[in-house]
């Protein structure tokens, strides 16, 4: 195959749009939820997949506008050679008929020096945290159930120096695809229905949360 063709096909359909729904589950219902997801999802016959990631959030600031551009560096603590650089756009709520939130989403696997590299580009680390949880998939839908941990010593991700931020687990249902594929939203809505009333996955307006917290 012609190398330029390969580059073409890689560039042709960038999967950079994420449709997603969010919710949370309390610790005591986690097992029920995991069992239900095991039954609903494709990887039922395997051992459930769990993950432990270290995420560093980098900001680049600008004199003209105070809101920074945010890049996130994620690093698996289990497979330590896996690093990725992510950009998450602002979530669009859209009109009522749209079943999910939509944001632009770029997840780019990189080599391990990504933190130093974007440091040289002018990014500064804002905060970091550890996230642990489980991962399921059904078709192209991805479901993560994750718990967030605060790091008490900068850069130290060992278990005795981290503590939970909230006893509940964040549940995210998402599909990453090319833009304009609105049809996936209905599938996701149907899937979310099946998790009720255990977890309510819904469109949470991020602007309200950000306003309320800052």
């Amino acid at each position: 195959m012609d190398p330029s063709m390969v580059q073409q096909t890689f560039k042709a359909a960038p999967l950079t749009t994420e449709f997603f729904l969010q919710g949370s589950v309390m610790e005591n219902s986690l097992e029920t939820l995991v069992n239900r997801l095991k039954g609903l999802c494709d990887n039922a016959d395997y051992q459930q997949e769990s993950f432990q990631d270290h995420e560093m959030v980098f900001h680049i600031k600008n004199t003209s506008v105070p809101t920074p551009l945010v890049f996130r560096v994620r690093h698996s603590l289990v497979q330590t050679e896996c690093w990725s650089l992510r950009y998450l756009g602002h979530a669009e709520v859209g009109d009522k008929n749209r079943p999910t939130l939509v944001r632009s989403y770029i997840d780019c696997p990189t080599s391990e020096n990504v933190a130093q590299f974007i440091g040289e580009l002018g990014f500064r680390m804002d905060h970091e945290f550890v996230v642990k949880g489980f991962y399921f998939h059904k078709g192209r839908m991805k479901i993560t159930v994750s718990k967030f941990y605060k790091m008490n010593q900068p850069g130290n991700t060992t278990n005795d120096t981290i503590e939970t931020v909230c006893p509940s687990y964040l549940v995210e249902l998402s599909v990453v695809t090319s833009s304009g594929q609105e049809a996936v939203g209905d599938d996701m809505k149907n899937f979310a229905e099946q998790l009720k009333p255990l977890v309510t996955l819904e469109k949470t307006d991020h602007r309200k949360i950000q306003l309320a917290q800052t």
Partner: protein, 249 residues
């Protein structure tokens, strides 16, 4: 005499009607079994059987009806046999019987079961008559006992299942909007992740310890009484969200 004849005719008509009904429902069932055997649901098969048994019942009732003259007393006589095709008969029997000839008449006008059926029936009847009434009573009792045992077991299972279902519905609080908001704000803005100084970390640790204790206590409560769960969680969340006031900018 006239009246009796009329009654007989009437009875025969209604009999034919009922039998026609039964025939139709059997035909329906057969068509379903043949054509939809791969998507056929068991409940719908049962429905068909229920319909059949109902129709058989009404047929039985009709025969037992007082107004119906004793059909046993009437005689059916084949008047003429003929080897030729009889279009009228063909129409009436839906092309099953083409001619009223010596081949088919013995089968259709038979009043006793087939010899093979009789053969198989005979030993059963013999066994039944040889059994003494006491022994029969004994067996019936044993049978009843077993059945009632099984019914008991099923009932107790049903009860426990219902109980569990009730418990589940009472455990409705499995997620909380407040926690969702806390988590989302942490992910989106980093709130709760930015540590600032040792003292505050200590405080945070203490608070988290407290929180954990509360959590444990609350879980105990849950074990005891389900009704109270909701309120305790709410208070816990309030405390949880108020534990980090210093982190607001």
């Amino acid at each position: 005499m006239q009246k009796e004849e009329k009654q007989l005719e009437h009875t025969l008509e209604s009999l034919i009607q009922r039998v026609q009904d039964i025939k139709n429902s059997i035909a329906n069932l057969l068509v379903k079994l043949e054509n939809e055997y791969n998507i056929l649901q068991w409940p719908s098969v049962l429905d068909n059987f229920a319909l059949l048994s109902g129709q058989l019942n009404t047929l039985g009732k009709l025969l037992r009806n007082e107004k119906v003259p004793p059909l046993r007393n009437s005689i059916l006589l084949p008047i003429a046999l003929s080897g030729d095709r009889d279009p009228e008969l063909e129409k009436v029997t839906e092309r099953r019987v083409i001619a009223f000839n010596a081949d088919v008449v013995p089968h259709y006008l038979r009043t006793k079961p087939e010899p093979e059926v009789e053969e198989r029936l005979q030993p059963v009847l013999n066994r039944a008559s040889s059994l003494t009434p006491e022994a029969a009573q004994k067996q019936i009792n044993a049978m009843n006992k077993m059945t009632s045992n099984i019914v008991d077991i099923i009932k107790s299972h049903q009860e426990t299942m219902e109980k569990e279902a009730n418990q589940k519905s009472s455990l409705s609080q499995t997620s909380s909007q407040a926690d969702t908001n806390t988590l989302l704000s942490a992910v989106l803005t980093g709130k709760g992740f930015k540590s600032s100084g040792m003292r505050r970390t200590d405080m945070a640790q203490q608070q988290s310890n407290m929180q954990a204790q509360q959590q444990a206590a609350q879980q105990k409560q849950q074990g005891n009484a389900h009704g109270k769960v909701q309120s305790s969680i709410k208070t816990n969340i309030k405390q949880g969200s108020s534990t980090h006031p210093y982190q607001r900018n």
